[in-house]
């Protein structure tokens, strides 16, 4: 009984901690939604409410009227999708090689991957700018995508190496014993087991590119090429003054694609991870 009681108390504690964590995570987002629907006078209220007293869509209308949000969202989507796709296409075979072929070269490569993540944006931005300028890729989404791929590649690679190592080599050996060719083994045995990892990595690359601000700010010149995070800063003035209502409305809309993609892919990631974990 005591053990059971402790178990219940422990479980209750776990749920309370989980709830606290969820509230902590949800608070800024819920406040953002609340702000997006508030008229200016409610934004300046000394006693703010969670639910707007006089909810309005005026902030959304103003945000769309003042800034090319759809165009910017389209640019962000192109950049993020392309960056995610290319990063995964490059990283997957590299990760497979690094995970399966152990040696000095792979150890050095892994070390370099880890080290390369330590460089801050400001250190690389000017050399990168000059390189892209020579390639005539300034003010093009292609140039931005290239930067995003390079920027997300080390972490993507590091993530995928972990996923490949988690796939037992014995499965591939078993397939070979059954007469499967190398390609057939990779396609029919390794790839399905690796799919959740690839999806998770693509998701990481997508979110990184979708939210990225500084490279886009520096590399894209003309308004019609700008991405969503850059356009969002147009609601900010000097000394931290902001047009809060439209900013919240636009920021809320900017989070929706990430949420949708997470919602669609989440099941696949967890489902894939657990597939085959237990003998049936």
């Amino acid at each position: 009984m005591t053990a059971l009681r402790t178990g219940r108390a422990g479980r209750a504690g776990q749920y309370a901690a989980l709830l606290g964590y969820l509230v902590l995570l949800a608070f800024p987002f819920l406040w953002l939604i609340s702000t997006a629907f508030k008229p200016p006078r409610e934004l300046g209220s000394l006693h703010p409410t969670w639910i707007p007293v006089n909810p309005t869509l005026a902030n959304f209308r103003q945000a769309f009227d003042e800034q090319p949000l759809l165009q910017a969202a389209g640019n962000s989507l192109i950049a993020a999708l392309a960056a995610a796709l290319i990063a995964v296409v490059i990283a997957t075979p590299m990760a497979y090689t690094m995970a399966r072929r152990r040696g000095r070269l792979t150890t050095a490569a892994t070390g370099w991957v880890v080290v390369s993540q330590a460089f801050p944006f400001v250190l690389v931005i000017i050399p990168l700018f000059l390189v892209l300028k020579n390639l005539q890729l300034i003010n093009t989404l292609s140039g931005l995508i290239m930067v995003y791929v390079v920027w997300s590649l080390p972490f993507a690679l590091w993530m995928l190496v972990g996923y490949v190592r988690a796939v037992p080599g014995e499965l591939e050996e078993a397939a070979a014993v059954d007469g499967a060719s190398r390609l057939r083994t990779l396609v029919s045995v390794t790839a399905p087991l690796l799919a959740p990892g690839i999806v998770a990595t693509a998701l990481f690359a997508f979110i990184t590119a979708w939210n990225e601000f500084f490279f886009a700010l520096v590399l894209l010149k003309t308004p019609e090429k700008q991405t969503l995070p850059v356009v969002l800063t147009h609601f900010l003035g000097a000394e931290g003054v902001a047009d809060l209502g439209p900013l919240a409305a636009a920021a809320f809309l900017a989070t929706i694609p990430s949420l949708v993609i997470f919602a669609i892919i989440q099941k696949r990631i967890t489902g894939g991870m657990l597939a085959g974990a237990v003998k049936s």
Binding site: P40, R41, L43, G44, S45, L46, H47, P48, Q62, D65, E66, I78, L81, A82, L85, I86, V89, V122, I125, I126, F129, L130, K133, I138, N139, T140, L141, S142, I145, R184, V187, S188, A191, F213, F214, L217, V218, K221, T222, P223, V230, T233, H234, F235, L236, G237, A238, E239, G240, V241, A242, D243, L244
Partner: protein, 434 residues
């Protein structure tokens, strides 16, 4: 069959990728002999953006051979963005910025000297003290066109019922009088309420700029041209007043010391604070957000022996040194800053124009929204004390901001404030002046 599906997916992915990449390429370049200039504006409030875009359209309609493209930048990151653009030779031709951001770009040869490019009309229209904000060495590297004094935005009802003398631009409060008024006012307001709320998230520029009125200079240029920091009596008046209001009189809210200006507005609207010292342009936000029936007014900031003098860092228009069409860029600036256009820009940003003719426009002298008070203060505005000091940004971030924040919260006394600003500060400045 099953083995072919992944290949199909791969092909589809490759096709999608190719499609995405083709959607990224630039359109064909135009080369019809027309001069094309890029104007990066930092206007962000809708009225201001509209005014800027309208002016660009008017210019383009009148000058088919010199077309200007409007590009929107952001105050939030303009320095880093310009720095990278200058390094890469891709800076906009016409650059909107603030005078306190220009020093490094001017000394670094990134901006064009406008001395010979600007017409006499524009040079004569803007007062000397405004030109000083954009003069570095022997050159002029920007045209100062909009500025804002710091004013006291006050709750009219609280001030009227208290019976205190209301200051005017001709007869402002002295710093001692201001301290006494806030002390008396707080007593009449009740518990948990304060006469003043100082939003001092960024304490350095507020302190230095207001300090000019009390004779504060802090930065002193020697005969060898080198700048050193010295904390004299005048430098202690404004910080001392704020410190005592917060820590001795309890007439200023402690909780707003870490806030930005906008954060204090709910408390101001709710009657918690009678006055908030803010930049002149905050009036737009107040007019928009104030509850119905809320009465507010604009009062001049307190003055010292030097009158209501204040330091400002005006908004500026500059031309990139790398621009292939500097003359045309300067002509565009001249067009933008014609008196009637300067008034449009000033109204759009809720700021004051620097141009004498624009400042005389009746639209900027109405009592509504406090325009008249601001316009009356314009002639007292001076170049911010730290304007052309190399190393100022580092001194501000590493030395002055934490020192002032600790002083205002009561964590350190004036002796330590002085020691840190001067001793640590001079070490920083020395590195930039070798």
């Amino acid at each position: 069959m099953r083995t072919r599906r992944p290949r199909g997916r791969l092909l589809a992915a490759a096709a999608a990728l190719a499609l995405l990449m083709t959607g990224c390429s630039d359109g064909p370049a135009r080369d019809d002999g027309t001069i094309r200039l890029r104007f990066q504006s930092l206007a962000w409030q809708q009225e201001s953006v509209d005014a800027n875009k309208e002016l660009v359209e008017e210019w383009n309609a009148a000058h088919p051979d010199v077309q200007v493209e409007y590009v929107q930048g952001s105050w939030d990151s303009v320095h880093d963005q310009l720095l990278t653009s200058f390094e890469g030779g891709e800076a906009p031709d016409i650059i909107h910025d603030a005078s306190d951001d220009l020093a490094d770009f001017a000394y670094g040869g990134c901006l064009a000297d406008l001395t010979e490019l600007l017409p006499e009309r524009l040079r004569a229209d803007i007062p000397r003290q405004s030109w000083e904000t954009t003069t570095f060495g022997d050159g002029v590297y920007g045209v100062p066109f909009l500025q804002e004094p710091r004013v006291l935005i006050a709750n009219t009802e609280i001030l009227e019922t208290s019976g205190v003398r209301l200051p005017t631009a001709e007869r402002p409060w002295s710093w001692e009088e201001f301290r006494q008024v806030t002390k008396d006012l707080t007593k009449t307001m009740g518990k948990g309420k304060y006469a003043v709320a100082w939003p001092l998230k960024e304490p350095v520029s507020v302190t230095l700029n207001l300090g000019l009125s009390a004779g504060g200079r802090l930065f002193h240029r020697g005969q060898d041209g080198k700048v050193t920091i010295d904390f004299r009596d005048g430098d202690g008046v404004v910080p001392g007043t704020i410190h005592d209001q917060v820590n001795v009189d309890r007439s200023a809210s402690r909780s707003t010391l870490g806030m930005g200006g906008s954060d204090t507005l709910p408390g101001f609207f709710g009657g918690k604070y009678a006055m908030v010292p803010l930049g002149f342009s905050y009036r737009q936000q107040i007019a928009q957000q104030a509850p119905e029936g809320f009465r507010w007014t604009v009062l001049p900031a307190p003055a010292g022996p030097d009158g209501p003098a204040q330091g400002v860092s005006p908004q500026t228009l500059s031309v990139a040194q790398d621009s292939a069409h500097k003359k045309e860029a300067a002509q565009f600036i001249d067009f933008m800053l014609r008196p009637q256009n300067m008034v449009r820009l000033a109204k759009g940003d809720w700021m004051l124009p620097t141009g004498t003719q624009a400042l005389g426009d009746p639209a900027l002298h109405t009592e509504k929204d406090g325009w008249a008070t601001g316009a009356d203060l314009a002639r007292h505005l001076r170049s911010a004390p730290a304007q052309a000091v190399r190393g100022y940004p580092e001194w501000k971030d590493k030395v002055a901001t934490p020192a002032y924040q600790e002083f205002y919260s009561g964590a350190i006394d004036e002796k330590e404030l002085k020691e840190r600003l001067v001793k640590d500060g001079n070490l920083v400045l020395a590195r930039y002046q070798r």
